[in-house]
Amino acid sequence: MIARWFRGALLLAVLTTVCVPAFAQVDFTGEWAPRFYEDQPERVPGPELGDYLGLPVTEAARMRADTWDASIQTLPEWQCRPHSADYIWRGPSNLHIWKEVDPVSRQITAFHAEWLRSIDNIYYLDGRPHPSANAPHTWGGFATAKWDGDILTVTVTHLKEGYVRRNGVPRSDLATVTEHWMRHGNWLTVMTIVNDPVYLSEPFVRSTDYQLDEHQLVPPYPCDVVEEVERSRGVVPNLLPGTNPSLNDFAAHHNLPIEATRGGPETMYPEYRNKLATMPKAGKK
Protein backbone atom coordinates (compact mmCIF):
# COMPACT_ATOMS: atom_id res chain seq x y z
CA MET A 1 0.00 0.00 0.00
CA ILE A 2 2.79 2.34 1.01
CA ALA A 3 4.79 1.29 -2.03
CA ARG A 4 1.82 2.06 -4.31
CA TRP A 5 1.36 5.45 -2.65
CA PHE A 6 5.08 6.14 -3.01
CA ARG A 7 5.11 5.21 -6.70
CA GLY A 8 2.13 7.48 -7.30
CA ALA A 9 3.77 10.38 -5.51
CA LEU A 10 6.97 9.86 -7.44
CA LEU A 11 5.13 9.81 -10.76
CA LEU A 12 3.27 12.98 -9.82
CA ALA A 13 6.54 14.67 -8.86
CA VAL A 14 8.19 13.71 -12.14
CA LEU A 15 5.21 14.87 -14.20
CA THR A 16 5.07 18.16 -12.32
CA THR A 17 8.75 18.77 -12.91
CA VAL A 18 8.50 17.97 -16.59
CA CYS A 19 5.50 20.21 -17.19
CA VAL A 20 6.87 23.28 -15.40
CA PRO A 21 8.21 25.74 -17.97
CA ALA A 22 11.87 26.71 -17.75
CA PHE A 23 12.48 29.45 -15.24
CA ALA A 24 11.82 32.96 -16.45
CA GLN A 25 12.11 32.40 -20.16
CA VAL A 26 9.94 34.47 -22.43
CA ASP A 27 9.79 33.55 -26.08
CA PHE A 28 10.60 36.50 -28.29
CA THR A 29 10.61 34.51 -31.52
CA GLY A 30 8.47 35.63 -34.40
CA GLU A 31 7.95 38.30 -37.02
CA TRP A 32 7.75 41.79 -35.56
CA ALA A 33 6.58 44.89 -37.39
CA PRO A 34 7.88 48.27 -36.25
CA ARG A 35 5.35 50.79 -35.03
CA PHE A 36 6.23 54.40 -35.66
CA TYR A 37 4.27 56.08 -32.90
CA GLU A 38 7.45 57.87 -31.88
CA ASP A 39 9.76 59.90 -34.12
CA GLN A 40 8.28 58.74 -37.45
CA PRO A 41 9.79 61.66 -39.44
CA GLU A 42 13.24 60.83 -38.15
CA ARG A 43 12.90 57.07 -38.49
CA VAL A 44 11.37 56.74 -41.95
CA PRO A 45 12.11 59.65 -44.32
CA GLY A 46 15.04 60.68 -42.16
CA PRO A 47 16.28 63.50 -39.94
CA GLU A 48 17.18 66.98 -41.11
CA LEU A 49 20.71 68.32 -41.03
CA GLY A 50 21.62 70.19 -37.86
CA ASP A 51 18.97 68.49 -35.73
CA TYR A 52 20.73 67.32 -32.59
CA LEU A 53 17.75 68.04 -30.34
CA GLY A 54 17.27 65.59 -27.51
CA LEU A 55 20.67 64.00 -27.99
CA PRO A 56 23.19 64.18 -25.13
CA VAL A 57 26.00 64.95 -27.57
CA THR A 58 29.47 66.20 -26.73
CA GLU A 59 31.28 69.00 -28.54
CA ALA A 60 33.26 66.34 -30.43
CA ALA A 61 30.02 64.83 -31.73
CA ARG A 62 28.80 68.24 -32.90
CA MET A 63 32.06 68.77 -34.79
CA ARG A 64 31.72 65.41 -36.53
CA ALA A 65 28.07 66.01 -37.41
CA ASP A 66 28.65 69.60 -38.57
CA THR A 67 31.34 68.44 -41.00
CA TRP A 68 29.46 65.38 -42.25
CA ASP A 69 28.37 65.32 -45.88
CA ALA A 70 25.62 62.86 -46.80
CA SER A 71 27.40 62.34 -50.13
CA ILE A 72 29.86 60.12 -48.31
CA GLN A 73 27.19 57.42 -48.47
CA THR A 74 27.69 57.16 -52.23
CA LEU A 75 31.22 55.84 -51.74
CA PRO A 76 31.56 52.11 -52.48
CA GLU A 77 32.61 51.43 -48.88
CA TRP A 78 29.38 52.95 -47.62
CA GLN A 79 26.73 51.76 -50.07
CA CYS A 80 26.00 48.39 -48.45
CA ARG A 81 26.90 49.31 -44.88
CA PRO A 82 24.23 47.92 -42.51
CA HIS A 83 22.75 49.79 -39.59
CA SER A 84 24.62 49.00 -36.37
CA ALA A 85 23.09 46.89 -33.60
CA ASP A 86 22.20 49.90 -31.48
CA TYR A 87 20.62 51.99 -34.27
CA ILE A 88 18.72 49.26 -36.05
CA TRP A 89 16.09 48.93 -33.31
CA ARG A 90 15.05 52.48 -34.07
CA GLY A 91 15.27 52.09 -37.82
CA PRO A 92 12.44 51.56 -40.28
CA SER A 93 12.83 47.83 -40.85
CA ASN A 94 10.82 44.75 -40.05
CA LEU A 95 12.32 42.33 -37.56
CA HIS A 96 12.60 38.55 -37.39
CA ILE A 97 13.67 36.89 -34.11
CA TRP A 98 14.50 33.23 -33.68
CA LYS A 99 16.17 31.18 -30.96
CA GLU A 100 18.66 28.41 -30.33
CA VAL A 101 17.73 25.79 -27.74
CA ASP A 102 20.09 23.40 -25.94
CA PRO A 103 19.04 19.88 -27.05
CA VAL A 104 19.46 18.42 -23.56
CA SER A 105 18.44 21.08 -21.06
CA ARG A 106 15.95 22.77 -23.45
CA GLN A 107 17.19 26.11 -22.20
CA ILE A 108 17.40 28.97 -24.68
CA THR A 109 21.08 29.48 -25.41
CA ALA A 110 20.81 32.36 -27.87
CA PHE A 111 18.40 34.66 -29.67
CA HIS A 112 19.00 35.91 -33.19
CA ALA A 113 17.54 39.15 -34.48
CA GLU A 114 17.66 40.17 -38.12
CA TRP A 115 16.09 43.17 -39.76
CA LEU A 116 15.93 44.18 -43.39
CA ARG A 117 19.34 45.80 -44.01
CA SER A 118 20.96 44.37 -40.88
CA ILE A 119 23.23 41.48 -40.20
CA ASP A 120 22.26 38.45 -38.10
CA ASN A 121 22.60 39.84 -34.56
CA ILE A 122 23.25 37.07 -32.02
CA TYR A 123 22.53 37.43 -28.28
CA TYR A 124 24.24 34.69 -26.28
CA LEU A 125 22.55 33.34 -23.18
CA ASP A 126 25.06 30.60 -22.41
CA GLY A 127 27.18 32.62 -20.02
CA ARG A 128 30.16 33.08 -22.31
CA PRO A 129 32.41 36.06 -21.51
CA HIS A 130 32.93 39.07 -23.76
CA PRO A 131 36.20 38.88 -25.70
CA SER A 132 39.26 41.05 -25.22
CA ALA A 133 38.87 44.73 -25.95
CA ASN A 134 41.26 44.18 -28.83
CA ALA A 135 38.99 41.65 -30.54
CA PRO A 136 37.48 42.71 -33.87
CA HIS A 137 34.58 45.15 -33.77
CA THR A 138 31.58 44.46 -36.00
CA TRP A 139 28.26 46.05 -37.00
CA GLY A 140 26.42 43.74 -34.63
CA GLY A 141 29.02 43.86 -31.87
CA PHE A 142 29.30 41.10 -29.30
CA ALA A 143 26.11 40.63 -27.32
CA THR A 144 25.38 38.59 -24.23
CA ALA A 145 22.07 38.40 -22.41
CA LYS A 146 20.61 37.34 -19.10
CA TRP A 147 17.13 37.00 -17.69
CA ASP A 148 15.92 39.57 -15.21
CA GLY A 149 12.55 38.04 -14.41
CA ASP A 150 10.61 38.20 -17.67
CA ILE A 151 12.91 40.88 -19.04
CA LEU A 152 15.86 39.97 -21.20
CA THR A 153 18.78 42.26 -20.45
CA VAL A 154 21.43 42.48 -23.17
CA THR A 155 24.95 43.90 -23.09
CA VAL A 156 26.57 44.80 -26.41
CA THR A 157 30.26 45.61 -26.83
CA HIS A 158 32.72 45.56 -29.73
CA LEU A 159 30.67 47.73 -32.06
CA LYS A 160 32.20 49.43 -35.07
CA GLU A 161 31.72 53.17 -35.17
CA GLY A 162 28.14 54.02 -36.10
CA TYR A 163 25.61 56.80 -35.63
CA VAL A 164 22.82 57.68 -33.25
CA ARG A 165 20.97 59.77 -35.84
CA ARG A 166 21.16 59.50 -39.62
CA ASN A 167 22.36 63.07 -40.06
CA GLY A 168 25.96 62.46 -39.13
CA VAL A 169 25.73 62.37 -35.32
CA PRO A 170 28.32 59.70 -34.53
CA ARG A 171 28.58 56.90 -32.00
CA SER A 172 32.12 55.73 -31.26
CA ASP A 173 33.53 52.20 -31.26
CA LEU A 174 34.13 52.53 -27.52
CA ALA A 175 30.39 52.67 -26.85
CA THR A 176 28.54 49.94 -25.01
CA VAL A 177 24.83 49.29 -25.24
CA THR A 178 22.42 47.86 -22.70
CA GLU A 179 19.07 46.60 -23.96
CA HIS A 180 15.97 45.51 -22.10
CA TRP A 181 13.57 43.33 -24.10
CA MET A 182 10.03 43.25 -22.73
CA ARG A 183 7.14 41.28 -24.20
CA HIS A 184 3.50 42.03 -23.38
CA GLY A 185 1.36 39.67 -25.45
CA ASN A 186 1.78 40.66 -29.08
CA TRP A 187 3.83 43.72 -28.26
CA LEU A 188 7.59 43.90 -27.93
CA THR A 189 9.17 46.92 -26.29
CA VAL A 190 12.92 47.27 -26.36
CA MET A 191 14.74 49.90 -24.38
CA THR A 192 18.26 50.71 -25.55
CA ILE A 193 20.75 52.61 -23.42
CA VAL A 194 23.88 53.77 -25.24
CA ASN A 195 26.93 54.78 -23.21
CA ASP A 196 29.61 56.43 -25.29
CA PRO A 197 32.62 58.03 -23.58
CA VAL A 198 33.54 59.92 -26.75
CA TYR A 199 30.37 61.34 -28.28
CA LEU A 200 27.73 61.22 -25.52
CA SER A 201 27.96 63.04 -22.21
CA GLU A 202 25.09 61.05 -20.63
CA PRO A 203 23.48 57.69 -21.35
CA PHE A 204 21.20 57.94 -24.39
CA VAL A 205 17.96 56.10 -23.68
CA ARG A 206 15.28 55.18 -26.21
CA SER A 207 12.36 52.75 -26.20
CA THR A 208 10.90 51.28 -29.37
CA ASP A 209 7.77 49.22 -30.00
CA TYR A 210 7.09 46.33 -32.34
CA GLN A 211 3.89 44.36 -32.94
CA LEU A 212 3.71 40.67 -33.78
CA ASP A 213 2.78 40.23 -37.44
CA GLU A 214 2.32 36.65 -38.56
CA HIS A 215 1.84 37.69 -42.19
CA GLN A 216 5.26 39.28 -42.39
CA LEU A 217 8.41 37.81 -43.84
CA VAL A 218 11.64 39.77 -43.92
CA PRO A 219 12.70 39.52 -47.57
CA PRO A 220 16.24 39.02 -48.82
CA TYR A 221 18.20 42.18 -49.44
CA PRO A 222 21.06 41.60 -51.83
CA CYS A 223 23.10 44.76 -52.12
CA ASP A 224 25.21 45.71 -55.15
CA VAL A 225 28.05 48.20 -55.05
CA VAL A 226 28.01 50.43 -58.13
CA GLU A 227 29.26 53.85 -59.18
CA GLU A 228 26.34 55.93 -57.92
CA VAL A 229 27.74 59.31 -58.93
CA GLU A 230 30.75 60.33 -60.96
CA ARG A 231 33.67 61.71 -58.97
CA SER A 232 37.43 61.62 -59.10
CA ARG A 233 39.13 58.68 -57.47
CA GLY A 234 40.08 59.23 -53.84
CA VAL A 235 37.63 62.07 -53.15
CA VAL A 236 35.88 61.69 -49.79
CA PRO A 237 32.93 64.10 -49.49
CA ASN A 238 33.19 66.26 -46.37
CA LEU A 239 32.69 69.80 -45.13
CA LEU A 240 35.36 71.78 -43.35
CA PRO A 241 34.48 73.24 -39.95
CA GLY A 242 32.39 76.38 -40.27
CA THR A 243 31.45 75.81 -43.93
CA ASN A 244 28.24 73.75 -43.63
CA PRO A 245 25.54 76.01 -45.10
CA SER A 246 22.61 73.90 -43.90
CA LEU A 247 23.11 73.70 -40.14
CA ASN A 248 20.52 76.32 -39.29
CA ASP A 249 17.88 75.12 -41.75
CA PHE A 250 16.24 72.80 -39.22
CA ALA A 251 15.86 75.62 -36.72
CA ALA A 252 14.46 77.89 -39.42
CA HIS A 253 12.01 75.29 -40.80
CA HIS A 254 10.50 74.70 -37.39
CA ASN A 255 11.01 78.16 -35.89
CA LEU A 256 13.18 76.85 -33.09
CA PRO A 257 16.05 78.48 -31.20
CA ILE A 258 19.31 77.55 -32.93
CA GLU A 259 20.89 76.87 -29.54
CA ALA A 260 18.30 74.17 -28.84
CA THR A 261 18.97 72.37 -32.11
CA ARG A 262 22.60 71.97 -31.12
CA GLY A 263 21.48 69.36 -28.59
CA GLY A 264 23.25 68.36 -25.42
CA PRO A 265 22.04 66.55 -22.32
CA GLU A 266 19.90 69.46 -21.17
CA THR A 267 17.70 69.13 -24.25
CA MET A 268 16.64 65.59 -23.28
CA TYR A 269 14.64 66.60 -20.23
CA PRO A 270 11.04 67.87 -20.05
CA GLU A 271 11.94 70.95 -18.04
CA TYR A 272 13.95 72.21 -21.03
CA ARG A 273 10.62 73.26 -22.54
CA ASN A 274 10.44 76.06 -19.96
CA LYS A 275 13.81 77.37 -21.10
CA LEU A 276 12.82 76.98 -24.76
CA ALA A 277 9.92 79.37 -24.23
CA THR A 278 12.32 82.15 -23.23
CA MET A 279 14.85 81.67 -26.04
CA PRO A 280 14.92 83.65 -29.32
CA LYS A 281 13.67 81.68 -32.32
CA ALA A 282 15.54 81.30 -35.60
CA GLY A 283 12.65 82.78 -37.57
CA LYS A 284 10.46 80.63 -39.77
CA LYS A 285 11.82 79.97 -43.23
Binding site: P45, G46, P47, D69, Q73, C223, D224, R231
Partner: protein
Protein backbone atom coordinates in the same frame (compact mmCIF):
# COMPACT_ATOMS: atom_id res chain seq x y z
CA UNK B 1 -11.49 67.53 -49.72
CA UNK B 2 -12.39 63.96 -50.61
CA UNK B 3 -9.03 63.45 -52.30
CA UNK B 4 -7.22 64.80 -49.24
CA UNK B 5 -9.15 62.42 -47.01
CA UNK B 6 -8.27 59.45 -49.22
CA UNK B 7 -4.60 60.44 -49.26
CA UNK B 8 -4.66 60.79 -45.48
CA UNK B 9 -6.17 57.31 -45.08
CA UNK B 10 -3.63 55.79 -47.48
CA UNK B 11 -0.73 57.47 -45.64
CA UNK B 12 -2.00 56.38 -42.23
CA UNK B 13 -2.54 52.82 -43.43
CA UNK B 14 0.96 52.63 -44.86
CA UNK B 15 2.36 54.01 -41.63
CA UNK B 16 0.61 51.54 -39.38
CA UNK B 17 0.52 48.38 -41.45
CA UNK B 18 4.13 47.33 -41.15
CA UNK B 19 4.71 47.17 -44.90
CA UNK B 20 8.28 46.97 -46.02
CA UNK B 21 9.93 50.34 -45.66
CA UNK B 22 13.23 50.87 -47.33
CA UNK B 23 14.45 54.14 -45.95
CA UNK B 24 18.12 54.04 -45.27
CA UNK B 25 19.77 57.33 -45.96
CA UNK B 26 18.01 60.45 -44.79
CA UNK B 27 16.39 62.24 -47.74
CA UNK B 28 16.28 65.53 -45.87
CA UNK B 29 19.99 65.32 -45.11
CA UNK B 30 20.88 64.45 -48.69
CA UNK B 31 18.53 66.50 -50.88
CA UNK B 32 16.86 69.91 -50.90
CA UNK B 33 13.34 68.61 -50.41
CA UNK B 34 11.89 72.09 -50.84
CA UNK B 35 13.42 72.56 -54.31
CA UNK B 36 12.82 70.91 -57.68
CA UNK B 37 15.04 70.73 -60.71
CA UNK B 38 14.39 69.46 -64.21
CA UNK B 39 17.05 67.73 -66.27
CA UNK B 40 16.95 66.37 -69.80
CA UNK B 41 19.29 64.06 -71.66
CA UNK B 42 20.06 60.57 -72.85
CA UNK B 43 19.93 57.70 -70.42
CA UNK B 44 23.33 56.04 -70.06
CA UNK B 45 22.47 53.29 -67.60
CA UNK B 46 19.70 52.14 -65.26
CA UNK B 47 21.14 50.53 -62.13
CA UNK B 48 18.08 48.54 -61.02
CA UNK B 49 19.29 47.30 -57.62
CA UNK B 50 19.43 47.50 -53.84
CA UNK B 51 20.11 49.83 -52.09
CA UNK B 52 18.40 52.53 -54.15
CA UNK B 53 18.35 52.22 -57.91
CA UNK B 54 20.13 54.93 -59.90
CA UNK B 55 19.48 56.27 -63.37
CA UNK B 56 22.44 57.92 -65.06
CA UNK B 57 21.71 60.55 -67.67
CA UNK B 58 24.05 62.41 -70.03
CA UNK B 59 22.80 65.96 -69.72
CA UNK B 60 23.95 69.49 -68.97
CA UNK B 61 24.51 71.44 -65.79
CA UNK B 62 23.16 74.93 -65.06
CA UNK B 63 25.99 76.46 -67.10
CA UNK B 64 25.31 74.28 -70.11
CA UNK B 65 28.36 72.09 -69.57
CA UNK B 66 27.99 68.33 -70.23
CA UNK B 67 27.65 66.26 -67.03
CA UNK B 68 26.40 62.87 -65.99
CA UNK B 69 23.44 63.15 -63.65
CA UNK B 70 22.91 60.46 -61.02
CA UNK B 71 19.21 60.22 -60.25
CA UNK B 72 18.28 58.13 -57.23
CA UNK B 73 15.13 56.03 -57.43
CA UNK B 74 13.54 53.38 -55.22
CA UNK B 75 14.98 50.05 -54.12
CA UNK B 76 14.75 47.27 -56.69
CA UNK B 77 12.04 45.43 -54.76
CA UNK B 78 9.95 48.52 -54.21
CA UNK B 79 10.08 49.57 -57.88
CA UNK B 80 9.42 46.01 -59.00
CA UNK B 81 6.17 45.97 -57.05
CA UNK B 82 5.17 49.14 -58.89
CA UNK B 83 5.69 47.44 -62.23
CA UNK B 84 8.94 49.17 -63.12
CA UNK B 85 11.17 47.10 -65.43
CA UNK B 86 14.38 47.68 -67.34
CA UNK B 87 12.59 47.38 -70.67
CA UNK B 88 11.57 51.02 -71.30
CA UNK B 89 14.75 52.47 -69.80
CA UNK B 90 17.51 51.26 -72.02
CA UNK B 91 20.70 53.21 -72.74
CA UNK B 92 20.10 55.92 -75.29
CA UNK B 93 16.52 56.65 -74.31
CA UNK B 94 15.88 60.40 -74.21
CA UNK B 95 14.37 61.31 -70.87
CA UNK B 96 13.16 64.30 -68.89
CA UNK B 97 13.30 64.03 -65.12
CA UNK B 98 12.14 66.20 -62.27
CA UNK B 99 13.61 65.76 -58.81
CA UNK B 100 14.95 67.25 -55.63
CA UNK B 101 18.53 68.43 -56.16
CA UNK B 102 21.30 67.03 -53.99
CA UNK B 103 22.86 69.23 -51.36
CA UNK B 104 26.35 68.57 -52.70
CA UNK B 105 26.45 70.32 -56.11
CA UNK B 106 29.54 68.37 -57.17
CA UNK B 107 27.50 65.15 -57.18
CA UNK B 108 25.05 66.30 -59.90
CA UNK B 109 22.46 64.21 -58.16
CA UNK B 110 18.65 64.29 -58.00
CA UNK B 111 16.03 62.41 -56.03
CA UNK B 112 13.52 61.23 -58.63
CA UNK B 113 10.03 62.68 -58.47
CA UNK B 114 8.88 62.27 -62.08
CA UNK B 115 10.30 60.64 -65.18
CA UNK B 116 9.23 60.88 -68.82
CA UNK B 117 10.71 59.06 -71.76
CA UNK B 118 10.04 61.30 -74.71
CA UNK B 119 9.41 58.45 -77.13
CA UNK B 120 6.43 56.11 -76.64
CA UNK B 121 5.22 58.14 -73.70
CA UNK B 122 6.56 56.09 -70.79
CA UNK B 123 6.17 57.98 -67.53
CA UNK B 124 6.65 57.36 -63.82
CA UNK B 125 5.64 59.59 -60.93
CA UNK B 126 2.48 61.49 -60.34
CA UNK B 127 0.16 58.49 -60.29
CA UNK B 128 -0.97 57.02 -56.93
CA UNK B 129 1.68 54.75 -55.47
CA UNK B 130 4.45 56.01 -57.74
CA UNK B 131 6.69 57.18 -54.93
CA UNK B 132 9.49 55.60 -52.93
CA UNK B 133 10.66 55.70 -49.35
Amino acid sequence: MKVRLILLIISATALMSGIQLYAHHSFAATYFEDKQQTIEGDLSQFLFRNPPSFVHVFGKDEKGQPVTWGVVWGDGGQLGRQGVTRQPLKPGAHVIMVGNPGRNPDDHRLRMLRLKRTSAGYTWGGRPGETFD
